[in-house]
Symmetry: C2
Subunit: 176 residues, 2 copies
């Protein structure tokens, strides 16, 4: 297990850790507006798998939804609402036909993950900090430069996720 811990830490610049530990600094000035997650949670690429999906249309990607330990435990035990500390990550990649696989299967049927696409998104549960958005902090980081999306985009997350109130605003179901 030491290797996992090492990988979790190795992928994270110190600056990132510090920023992640204090994402609520925007509150210091008494701002009551929605608060968003401003730094990529460290080590998310090492988290366990919740499920997979494909979006057609403008998105046209293959996606994986990963969860930190708190998220995976809650999913497997059916805990709702998700406890504070839950973080759910949505990764996505270009939806690429695989000529290599098709040749082996003998027919065009195979689509695999290409380069990262559609950004990386997170939902971070903190029922006190994110009280105005159902206890969830929403985040979107661009896949090219890792920079967070602007507030105008992030403000669109919560209204849509409210459609899934009975599952604590989380669309993705656990894939057994």
């Amino acid at each position: 297990m030491r290797r996992i811990v090492f990988v979790l830490m190795a992928g994270v610049a110190l600056a990132g850790v510090v920023a992640y530990m204090a994402p609520a600094s925007g509150q210091a000035d008494g701002e009551a507006a929605p608060i968003f997650v401003t730094a990529i949670p460290p080590g998310y690429r090492d988290w366990r798998l919740i499920s997979v999906a494909h979006e057609e249309g403008d998105l046209n990607d293959l996606r994986a939804i990963l969860g930190n330990d708190v998220a995976i435990k809650a999913y497997r035990e059916g805990t709702l609402p998700f406890p504070d500390g839950t973080i759910i990550a949505r990764l996505a990649w270009s939806y690429n036909p695989s000529e290599e696989n098709n040749k082996t299967f003998g027919r065009p049927q195979s689509f695999v993950a290409g380069p990262p696409k559609s950004g990386v998104q997170f939902m971070v549960k903190d029922s006190k900090k994110y009280v105005s958005t159902g206890g969830w902090g929403f985040a979107h980081f661009h896949e090219d430069d890792g920079k967070p999306a602007d507030e105008a985009m992030l403000k669109t997350c919560f209204p849509c996720h409210q459609a899934i109130k009975d599952r604590d605003l989380v669309f993705t179901r656990y894939a057994p």
Copy 2:
């Protein structure tokens, strides 16, 4: 990290562990034919993600490819051939349209993982034990009862995987 260790162990019946420790028992009678993996590697659902894919046609599934620690390290460092101890798992689920997601997106575009489908497959690297199949032991376990596929099916794995000799018989590329 204790939680991960616990989950890894909790999912495994003792009989399964014992069977996994001795998959080469078929060699005792001097049989030189291909040897296949006869027990599901413990804890594989907790392994880290290598990539995702979608197969159309008869398979019609969404899939995730996971790797144990040895596999993930080799992928990230570009190590070829994969070292002994590498295990790669291929999970798959029914390719289900999500009415719930489509309603939110405002268009039919979303496909998510349904019930398990297409079995669970593994490639286990042991260059001595599986010398007749490129150092890889192949495995397929049915998603309904967890039983291994018969030898006739497993014998079809190696010939197709030989198409990818320059990547040590492994089709899946790491999704960053």
